[in-house]
Symmetry: C2
């Protein structure tokens, strides 16, 4: 582990301890963010939105396997947290465009690193699983 990571981990642990001791009303930030992006679809949606503004129906098609209901729910949650912007065009039929806010864009930073880790180590993980299962 690099020195930079070590510092980050320590910061994270310290924050977690502080949260426990101080008995805050709100949730631990790490827990909170993890709960948000840890669901089945959020990351995939954010990923698609990183390509620029896109309409509801197009998103529905491009995020593989997602239902209409879950796309709506996911987008609403992301909008609520200030990660996504929703723009309604008053046309017939109605058009709605979704895009990342600057806050949402900033999330691409850690997310892309995580995705890279996933891609770089996926083989190793699959191997470990196969070995464990026998």
């Amino acid at each position: 582990m690099t020195a930079k990571n070590k510092a980050a981990v320590e910061k994270m642990q310290q924050t977690h301890r502080d949260w426990e001791e101080a008995d805050y009303a709100g949730p631990c930030p790490v827990r909170d963010v993890l709960d948000r992006i840890g669901d089945r679809w959020s990351v995939m949606v954010v990923l698609r939105l990183s390509g620029g503004p896109i309409r509801f129906r197009a998103l529905l098609r491009s995020v593989d396997g997602i239902s209409q209901r879950m796309l709506t729910t996911t987008l609403r949650a992301l909008e609520r947290d200030g990660l996504v912007d929703r723009t309604v065009f008053d046309t017939r039929p109605p058009a709605v465009e979704y895009s990342l806010t600057p806050l949402g864009e900033s999330l691409l930073d850690p997310l892309s690193l995580l995705a890279e880790w996933a891609m770089d180590h996926h083989e190793q993980i699959l191997k470990a699983r196969k070995n464990f299962d026998k």
Copy 2:
């Protein structure tokens, strides 16, 4: 977004497209890793383990709110994926130590960045929520 991130995002998107087109047997790596660390406890456990080897009972105490069942389940899943090592000492009463494997250590890298993002932007998220709810 920095050029480095842009490249990472594009790599992620490309990988995702490849996966869809190729109809692989296995899951998309990003989905797969997200499913694994996206659960309620994995990240918190990995975080605790970053402090060095620790025994089951100590982990149970230090990961706030986790049940015995979920700690066992979570540790087993992490072990299966090759992120965690389990060492049994043949004493009375028995002692078991858990620690991160090199692969697990490498996960601290993206995880710490994500945690930092969470801590740095939590306030902004809470504000966005409050504003959205009214």
